[in-house]
């Protein structure tokens, strides 16, 4: 029942946001909607803590531990982004353009709806449609600022990810074919698929797997299909970047990881090998591209590619410990990346430029923005004792226990390169004598000049930053028991029996 309510509430919030009822109506509806969705997701997650399943419509809508984890993550980041949007949209869009504001909130809710649907749907055809909808419903959020760059980014985004989705569709149809040939009575759901997989023809299974890996991999941003990602994730408004980078990529990665238990016994290393190859290439290329980033939102976008690679490697290593590490990494990356993009958003509000080289001494221009940016940077780079450090450490440890020295050696190297790449850029921005070397793009960024009281950040932005910084710091030192159980069951569900 919760699952149906979640979908209905977010769709309803999207519709209500369009009603012209004064300036505050759409943000309030969005806030209430995301809060209700978060509470319901929390309820769902708590119900699956013991490894059970929440079923709304049998074979169509259901949630097990892994999908409940994703659901919880989506709703948490969604809530934080809704709070952040309040202040951010207030500061960047003229109050007279209330139609534009209403459209923003409506699309925000629709986008959130599609991501929640990916986790809630269990029929594969419907999952594919939900994934496709995450693209289609977020395109106009990417192009929201209507600059030529934003339009270019949106076009690349929709073209490449739709191409990927078509390839994945073919893979899913192949899987369906394999299942109907195996003559099982199981429904075409994640669990039905795993039950039927031993009887399916290996040739079909492998081909379908590769089509889905490449197709959905385009949307996750795996190198070499990543080219749209830094563009889209840097041109969208900051709260949307947090959704795109923090959870959209994760929800699609979730679909890929769900295929893992299809491969049992000796076939398992086949899927794992592909995961490791794509993961290492993504992590490596992104780590080196990080160094040359000139735009701090782009920097964080490349770091998303890197983290997707790390999670894929962890999933590919196999074994309970590595999968547990992957679950930890999924959660810690999503919350830390949201923090990064929120802090990038307030930095943008305070300085009016996205150019790394233009900002010096942010700590004196806007101390609050600088502190959050520093913690976000340290967090995503993987400094102890923050959340990402713990998850990366547990992945490396699991890999060494498995005896995969080469893979772990390379991964560790890329992690170090990325660490220095990120920290070098963030340090340059945060410290030094305060100055903003403004290019003429200052007024172009939002289509109007920046507010004069620029070092006063909107209160809601700060609240959103505080909400996201808590798990970033907390999860590095302490994991609540329920969450631990959720990770445990999610990792176990992917394990090879």
């Amino acid at each position: 029942m919760e699952l149906l309510c979640i979908l209905i509430i977010s769709a309803l919030a999207a519709a209500l946001s369009l009603i012209p009822m004064g300036k505050r109506f759409a943000p309030v509806v969005t806030l209430l909607g995301t809060m209700a969705v978060f509470l319901l997701s929390l309820r769902t997650a708590l119900a699956t803590v013991t490894g059970g399943e929440v079923v709304a419509v049998k074979d169509w809508l259901s949630c097990d531990s892994f999908s409940a984890l994703i659901l919880l993550l989506v709703s948490f980041v969604g809530l934080a982004a809704a709070i952040f949007s309040w202040g951010y949209i207030d500061a960047t869009v003229e109050a007279t353009e209330d139609r534009k504001i209403r459209r923003y909130y409506s699309r925000f809710n629709l986008f959130l709806f599609s991501m929640l649907a990916v986790a809630i749907f269990s029929h594969l055809a419907m999952v594919w449609i939900a994934v496709e909808l995450t693209t289609l419903l977020s395109v106009f959020l990417v192009s929201f600022e209507s600059t030529p760059e934003a339009l270019e980014a949106a076009w690349k985004y929709v073209m490449l990810t739709c191409m990927g989705a078509a390839l994945a569709l073919f893979g899913i149809l192949l899987l369906y074919w394999g299942m109907s040939l195996a003559a099982t009575q199981a429904a075409f759901t994640w669990t039905g698929l795993i039950a039927a997989s031993p009887k399916m023809s290996p040739a079909i299974l492998y081909t379908a797997f590769l089509f889905i890996l490449i197709g959905f991999g385009t949307k996750v941003g795996l190198v070499p299909m990543h080219t749209w990602l830094p563009d889209a994730h840097s041109q969208a408004p900051s709260p949307i970047c947090a959704l795109l980078s923090g959870i959209e990529t994760t929800t699609v990665l979730y679909c890929i990881m769900r295929l893992l238990p299809m491969f049992q016994g000796s076939a398992a290393s086949y899927a794992g090998r592909w995961f490791i190859i794509f993961g290492l290439i993504s992590a490596g290329v992104a780590a080196f591209l990080l160094i040359q980033a000139k735009d701090y939102k782009r920097l964080f976008a490349f770091s998303t590619v890197e983290h997707m690679g790390i999670i894929l490697v962890a999933a590919g290593l196999g074994g309970y410990a590595a999968l547990f590490g992957a679950m930890l990494q999924i959660v810690s990356h999503a919350v830390t990346k949201s923090l990064c993009f929120f802090s990038a958003g307030v930095t943008l509000l305070a300085t009016g430029t996205r150019d790394i080289a233009a900002i010096r001494g942010l700590i004196r221009i806007s101390p609050l923005a600088a502190i959050f940016l520093m913690v976000g940077g340290l967090g995503i780079a993987g400094a102890p004792p923050l959340a990402v450090f713990l998850s990366e450490f547990s992945i490396l440890k699991a890999g060494i226990m498995n005896g995969q020295y080469l893979v772990i050696g390379l991964l560790a190297l890329f992690l170090v390169v990325a660490f220095f790449g990120i920290m070098y850029q963030i340090n340059r921005m945060v410290f030094g004598s305060p100055e903003i070397i403004l290019m003429d793009e200052r007024t172009l960024l939002f289509g109007r000049s920046i507010i004069p009281k620029r070092n006063i950040l909107p209160l809601t932005c700060i609240i959103a930053l505080i909400i996201t910084i808590i798990p970033v710091i907390l999860f590095g030192i302490y994991l609540p028991e329920q969450l631990y159980q959720l990770f445990h069951h999610a990792a176990a569900s992917l394990g090879r029996m």
Partner: protein, 228 residues
């Protein structure tokens, strides 16, 4: 030869013909220079998809595949061309020649390579599955059209042909789908048809926005964002 056999052999041959022409139209979407012809070709291709669905539907006596055929005609033959015309505007979709990254003979050669490759990928699958006569045509042709569509998206520089490339990819996937996944629940098919409509709508609106802001729809010339 008894009557059912005769009918079956006729249906098989008709389906094979449809598949051949389907593949040919996928080649056309890669190589034809006139925008309007491209759009008509896409409509024709969708019609072929509907025909193939009806043939297979008749063979399996499946009312559901006939519904798929009707749905295909409604969305892809009627609504999508109308939608593109009204969102992108007649000016930018009909009266242009399409510029290409790779010249046409070279693209056709690559397209040929892609087709051979898809037959290579598909044949082990068909052997492994002990596939029936319809799958033997539809799976490789569908896969070839899927990859040819992706190729068309990469080489075309204009917005509308790129959109048609994406839609042709979906057509390819469904062309294979009507033979290999003909028992897929109808609600999934319905949602997929709806999804294709949203694709056309979103891309059309975005192309319109690009034209209004930048004064052109040559999306291949948008290169402001890239790594140095």
């Amino acid at each position: 030869m008894s009557e059912p056999d005769l009918l079956l052999s006729f249906l098989t041959k008709l389906n094979a013909l449809t598949g051949g022409v389907f593949l040919l139209s996928a080649f056309g979407l890669v190589a034809i220079r006139q925008m309007l012809t491209c759009l008509r070709l896409y409509v024709f291709q969708s019609l072929l998809l509907a025909i193939s669905a009806s043939i297979i539907g008749y063979h399996y006596a499946s009312i559901h595949l006939f519904a798929v055929a009707a749905l295909t005609i409604a969305t892809k033959v009627i609504i999508i061309p109308w939608l593109l015309r009204h969102t992108v505007g007649y000016e930018s979709y009909a009266k242009r020649e399409i510029s290409q990254v790779i010249n046409i003979p070279a693209s056709l050669l690559i397209a040929l390579g892609i087709t051979i490759l898809s037959y290579c990928i598909a044949s082990p699958l068909l052997t492994a599955a002990g596939a029936g006569i319809f799958e033997r045509v539809n799976l490789p042709v569908g896969m070839a059209s899927l990859i040819l569509g992706a190729f068309a998206v990469t080489v075309r520089r204009e917005a509308v042909p790129q959109v048609l490339g994406i839609l042709a990819m979906e057509n390819g996937a469904f062309f294979a789908g009507v033979s290999i996944a003909h028992t897929l629940p109808f609600i999934a098919e319905l949602a997929a048809a709806f999804d294709v409509l949203i694709i056309a709508l979103v891309m059309g609106l975005l192309a319109l926005k690009i034209r209004k802001t930048l004064g052109k729809t040559a999306v291949g010339e948008l290169i402001a964002l890239k790594e140095e």
